[in-house]
Symmetry: C2
Subunit: 280 residues, 2 copies
C-alpha cells in the first residue's frame, strides 16, 4: 500500500494505472476507520482493479460549533486497517493542500441539502459536495463507494454526480452495525459508557417502525410517533429530528410508499448520532 500526501503525488501514482486501463475504485473517508468504512473497501475491490482511500477530516463540512477539533484521528491505526483490507493507495492530504488560500468555490446541491441534517447543519452538505467534487477531480475514479448510514449524503452525492456529469459510478454500501444494532460511526467513541448502553435503542426503535409497516401500517404520523415514543425511552436522548421521507427527493411523504425511509438524528449527551431505516 502506498500513501500520498499531495495532489500531485497521488495523481502521478494513479496516472500510469489509468493509461493502462485499470479501473480505479475510490472510498472517501474522514479516517478513524471502522468496519463500516472497511466494508466499502470490499465493495470497491469487487468493482475495480485498484482501490484508493482518502482520509481527510474535511473542515468545510463542520459548522462553527461542531466537533472539527476533537474529531477522532489515528492515522497509524487507519493505515494498518486499510492495508490489511487490501487498499492499494491512501490519499492523506493536509488541510492547506486541499484548501489553499484564497478559496472561493463551493458545490451546492439545493433543496436536498436543506432538509434533515441540513436544518441543524446548514453548511454541512455544501462542505461534503465541495470536498467530494475535489476528490473526484483529484482521484478521477471509475467507481466511488459511500455508506448508507449517511443516507442524505449518499442521495445528495448521487444527485451531484448526475447534475454535474461526473464520470463516476456511485455505489452505496449497507449500514454496518455493532452486534447490539448501533450503527457504526467514528463518533461512537465520544459516547460515555452510559450513553453507549442506551444508544442501541435508536436502531431497535427503527426496527419496530419497519415491523409496523410490514404489518400494514401506512400512516406517517403513527410511524413517526412510534419512533418518537421509542427514542424518548432514552433518558439521555435529545431528538434533533425524526423524519419519514421519500428515498429519492428526501421530501416528507403523505403516506408510506415503496422507497420511504425513516431518518433520525439524536443527541446522546453531546454526541449527535444519525441512523436510518428503509420502511418499505
Amino acid at each position: 500500500m502506498e500513501v500520498y500526501r499531495t495532489i500531485a503525488a497521488i495523481r502521478a501514482a494513479l496516472q500510469p494505472l489509468r493509461t493502462t486501463g485499470k479501473k480505479i475504485g475510490f472510498v472517501p473517508t474522514m479516517g478513524y476507520l471502522h468496519e463500516g468504512h472497511l466494508s466499502l473497501v470490499d465493495i470497491a475491490k469487487a468493482h475495480s482493479d485498484v482501490v484508493v482511500m482518502s482520509i481527510f477530516v474535511n473542515p468545510t463540512q463542520f459548522g462553527p460549533n461542531e466537533d472539527l477539533e476533537r474529531y477522532p484521528r489515528d492515522f497509524a491505526r487507519d493505515e494498518h486497517l486499510a492495508c490489511e483490507r487490501g487498499t492499494d493507495f491512501i490519499f492523506y492530504p493536509e488541510v492547506a493542500e486541499m484548501y489553499p488560500e484564497p478559496f472561493f468555490t463551493y458545490v451546492v446541491t439545493e433543496k436536498l441539502s436543506k432538509v434533515l441534517c441540513g436544518v441543524s447543519r446548514p453548511t454541512h452538505f455544501r462542505g461534503v459536495t465541495t470536498v467530494v467534487a475535489k476528490l473526484f477531480n483529484i482521484i478521477q475514479p471509475d467507481v466511488a463507494v459511500f455508506g448508507r448510514k449517511d443516507a442524505q449524503q449518499a442521495i445528495i452525492i448521487q444527485q451531484m454526480v448526475r447534475d454535474l456529469n461526473f464520470p463516476v459510478k456511485i455505489i452505496l454500501g449497507p449500514i454496518v452495525r455493532e452486534p447490539d444494532g448501533l450503527a457504526m460511526s467514528s463518533r461512537n467513541v465520544y459516547l460515555t459508557p452510559e450513553e453507549r448502553s442506551q444508544a442501541p435503542l435508536i436502531f431497535q426503535t427503527l426496527q419496530e417502525a419497519r415491523q409496523a409497516v410490514e404489518r400494514g401500517e401506512r400512516n406517517v404520523a403513527t410511524i413517526r410517533n412510534l419512533i418518537e415514543t421509542g427514542i424518548k425511552r432514552l433518558p439521555l436522548a435529545r431528538i434533533d429530528y425524526i423524519e419519514i421521507v421519500d428515498g429519492e427527493n428526501l421530501q416528507r411523504v403523505d403516506e408510506i410508499h415503496p422507497g420511504t425511509f425513516a431518518a433520525v438524528a439524536v443527541y446522546l449527551g453531546k454526541t449527535r448520532l444519525i441512523d436510518n431505516q428503509v420502511l418499505m
Copy 2:
C-alpha cells in the same frame, strides 16, 4: 468534423482518443461564432491533438429579464465556420440533455462572482461555472481555451479550476476586435447602425486610459473619470459599470499597479456590451 448531440455520444466518440493518449483541447461557446471564438480554436489546436467545441446557449447564465430567447443562433453557419477552422468535434446538446429535471446542483465561486458583471447579473457566473464544470466532466479535456473579452469569467473559471482541482489546463486567448476596435461579440448583431457606429468609442476610451497610465498616471479616480467622460461622449450609452480592478482578485485597487485592468459594461440602447483593458 463530427457533431454529437448527446452526452453519451460525445463521450463514446472521445473515449478511444483519450485511451490512445491523444490530448483533447476544448473551446466552450454559446455559438453564433465570430473570429474571437475561432481564434480560440487556433489556440486549442496549438496545444492539443483533437479540438472539441461545445455550442450551447446556457439558460442558467441568463437572468429572468435577459436575452436568452433572442440570443442569436445559427447552427448551420457555426458548423461551417468551426469545421473550416479545423474543429474536430462539436458537442451541440439540447437544454433537456444538459439540465434534466430535477436539477439542484450549482457551482458557485464566491466573492469574484459578486463584483463587476455580478452586480447587475447576480446569478450569471453561477450559471457559467455550473455549465463549465458540467462540460469539463463531459468532455474531460486536457486544455480548455477561453477569451479575455470576458475577463471576469476567465478569472472566475481559473479560480474554480484551482479550487475544485479540475485536471484541465486553462489557456486565455486575446480579445479579437473589429477593424474599428469594437470587441467582437455575438451580441454586436443586436446593435442598430447608429449604435454600431458609436460602439468603437468604448475601446478608444480604454486606449486613452492605458495611454494615460503609460504616461505615468497612477491615480485610480483620474483614470476612472477619463473613461467615464469618454464613454459619456456616446449619446446612446448608459453606463452599467466602470471599474479599475486587480487582475487576480477583481477587487478595486487604491493605485494602479502591474496587473490592474479597467473593465466596463455599457448599454447601447438595449444591448449590453463589455470590454476591458489591462492598464499596466
